[in-house]
């Protein structure tokens, strides 16, 4: 047992050789959510220094409103990524849902029918995607890419590339985006509720656990009695549905069904946000809350630049750079933890 004592002394020595800043970072890095939140604070701090407008508390409530379509769509997409699949059609869904909703408004003069029709586009498209991927064995990247072009094309043909305006001017519909309950904007509340519900499902139910197992190793999951295809299909439907809800929120902003909604890479930004939040593109790894923080970090970047009146084209450059930095930090964090793991 003399040898054992020798070992532990040695271990202590190696631990102490680690530079001080690394020892500080390890506990921080171990909690993904905390490190992402710190990154969020850094980004907001940066804008708070440069732009007085970013120092008001109201800015962050506005951020919640601005980012709500991304938050909502990211919920469904994150689960899909966790089980190892993609959905690139959610950007086109945004336009499709908006156009369907407002068209039904105008055709029936009934707001609830319109909202219902808009909401139904989600599960419908999601089901088609999911059926093709799971039961026809088609690759999800290609399938949903095809769906993306098909939906966008359909919207163009249908609208003739003109925005569809709500002729009834339903005030209740636009309140979905513009109203507040207390100080909090309604779409923000909607996002938070959705996140909370899905969070509980992910952490406390067998369904949630199965998603991770499927993403981590689909054959092992199948051999353990998990219904892999059915679960995936359900997740495609869910991803379509959250995209449709996001589409409703976007349409309610102006009361218009806009044919080019989400055309500037909405689906890619949502995927990037989730990955920035630590969700693995290979599936099986990642957390919902982290993914949401990823959305907020990119959202804050955009928001800050809009407050500073940075031109939209320049915004794109900065957003890209922030994304690269975040992905780099993510890798650095993993390496740090890996080297630390050996010492524990």
């Amino acid at each position: 047992m003399e040898a054992l004592g020798d070992d532990s002394r040695l271990a202590g020595a190696t631990l102490n050789r680690r530079p001080a800043w690394q020892r500080w970072l390890v506990p921080l890095a171990r909690h993904e959510e905390v490190s992402l939140f710190v990154l969020f604070l850094v980004v907001s701090g940066f804008f708070a220094v440069l732009e007085p407008g970013a120092r008001r508390g109201g800015t962050y409530l506005d951020l919640l409103r601005d980012a709500s379509p991304n938050l909502i769509a990211a919920v469904g997409l994150t689960l899909l990524l966790l089980c190892g699949e993609f959905d690139l059609s959610i950007g086109a869904m945004l336009a499709f849902t908006g156009v369907v909703t407002v068209s039904v408004f105008n055709a029936t003069d009934n707001m609830w029918l319109g909202i219902l029709a808009g909401l139904l586009t989600g599960p419908l498209v999601g089901f088609i995607n999911g059926y093709l991927v799971t039961f026809q064995g088609m690759n999800s990247l290609m399938t949903t890419l095809g769906m993306m072009f098909a939906l966008r094309g359909l919207v163009y043909v249908w609208t003739n590339k003109t925005p569809i305006v709500d002729e009834n001017g339903f005030r209740d519909f636009t309140r979905l985006y513009q109203a507040e309950i207390g100080p909090v904007p309604v779409p923000g509340i909607l996002s938070l509720i959705l996140i909370a519900v899905v969070y509980v499902v992910m952490t406390r139910t067998q369904f949630g656990r199965n998603i991770y197992a499927i993403g981590g190793n689909p054959t092992a999951a199948r051999v353990s009695g998990i219904r892999v295809e059915r679960t995936k299909l359900l997740l495609f439907v869910l991803s379509g549905t959250t995209a449709a809800i996001a589409g409703l929120v976007v349409a309610s902003q102006t009361g218009t069904g806009y044919f080019d909604a989400g055309v500037q890479g909405f689906e890619l930004i949502v995927i990037a946000s989730a990955v920035l939040g630590g969700v693995s593109l290979a599936g099986g790894e990642g957390r919902l809350v982290s993914a949401m923080l990823g959305v907020l970090i990119l959202g804050m970047t955009g928001k800050g630049m809009r407050l500073m009146n940075v031109h939209i084209t320049q915004q794109l450059v900065v957003t890209g750079i922030v994304m690269l930095i975040a992905v780099y930090l993510h890798g650095a964090r993993k390496r740090l933890l890996e080297s630390d793991r050996r010492s524990s």
């Binding site: 190696t14 067998q206 054959t219 199948r222 790894e285």
Partner: protein, 537 residues
Amino acid sequence: MSEQTSQTSAEHQRPVETPDVPVLAMRNIRKVFPGVVALKDVDFDVAPGEVHALLGENGAGKSTLIKIIAGVYPRDGGTMEVAGEEVDFSGPADAIARGIKVVYQELDLVPHLSVAENVSLGAYPRTKRGFVDFPALRQRARTLLGELGLQIDPETMLGELRVAEQQLVEIARALSRQARLIVMDEPTSALSPAEIDNLFAVIERLNRRGVAIVYVSHKLDEIYRIADRVTVFRDGQRVVTARVTETKPRDLVRWMVGRDLEELYPKTPGLLGMPLLEVRGVTGSGLQDLSFTVCAGEVVGVFGLMGAGINTIGRVLFGASARDAGLVAVSGQPIRPNIPRDAIRKGLGLLTESRKDDGLVLPLSVRSNMTLASLDRFTDWTWIRGREETRAASDYVKRLSIRTPSLRQRIRYLSGGNQQKVLMARWLLRQRQLKVLMLSEPTRGVDVGSKAEIYRLIDEMAHTGMGILFMSTEIPEILGIADRILVMREGRITASFARDDATQDRLIEAATSDATSTEAESTPSLREHEAETAWKR
């Protein structure tokens, strides 16, 4: 006899044994991972043209030593000489440049390139204009394969070869880089007896050319067949280096485990009950018309060579591979084909042969991996009772003495033996519903100590009235634990022996007789099937 004496005697013998300069001489090698001393002042040397076996349980320090030799890890102390020159590798490329090549279990070859291209991978001969010189490339491959006595067409796609042949291509590749030391990490774990003979013939040829081999294996019989000297590791230290002829298997095991393993196979007689698993005329995925029964409390062993289809049985009965015809029933309840969920519900469990491919969910924790198939036990309507789940999992960590820092540890960081025990626990957690457990090669790549525990568990489960179907390519363990042994060849059952009638020779005979004539026709179908499942992944 004390370990010290043999250690020192080996020291003294060295000059006698290695008249030439050793290919590799390592002195006082020390490797520290923060928190663990992986290697403690280890000496290790290899003479030209010798086969030096490296033995030790998982985690004893073998792989760390190999990685230092291969230049993957830097050492923290000690000296290392290659052919008399002191070296300091800063990466695997340095080791290869010095003529040291490691053949890992997972070969680093490219399946979609030809054999010739793989042999010269990373160092293609060029024409004057800088293009790849394909005729020279093929010629080089042909020469090297010829020197190894192999009949492999250099223009075949590597992926079309069997694993054994791919391994030999890897060895040829080492020769193309003028290797003088080849480290083989459990090279026979996926080979049939004939393929092992072939590999050993190649090793002898290499020795005659003066190429030294470091041979890592858990299989003692192979060490006695092929190795000149053996070094045993335990807990990061070298226990002994000795000439193989001067040791007994019993000594090797004791040095490895640190105590006498009283009984590797704790087979205790039990009572047989009602038939639990009935298989009638099952055909599909390369299996032909399989019929047999497993009774309560019975351990039925299935023996066959690689490619005979023994690992397909579990998958087909369970529904993980296609069943085209035939009936499978557990306690009289028929099981629907191709739906593992149905098989599980009716009381079947399957420990698959490949931990990585369809057993472990690597990103998940020990606990999640363990409870993957039994979550409904801990679920009320839809909520998981986390505390109860944790309690059950930690109970099994204790019962199976699984070495893990915590239940939340990711399973990828556990050793192979411990991973295997977690997978066994996955099914043991369903004990109340589980009637028949099928195990495909549960001890592959598992060290001796864990093996003994796995055998003990199997015996224990049989005593609780479970039926066990145990598939293995290793005769000793089949003879050791089975009540009845079925032998398979080319997807068919060719013989059945009661425990007392079975001998090694009889099993081999039943597994091989006139295998040559039909091997060609059955192997492709199995291979196609494997390709199909690989694609689905």
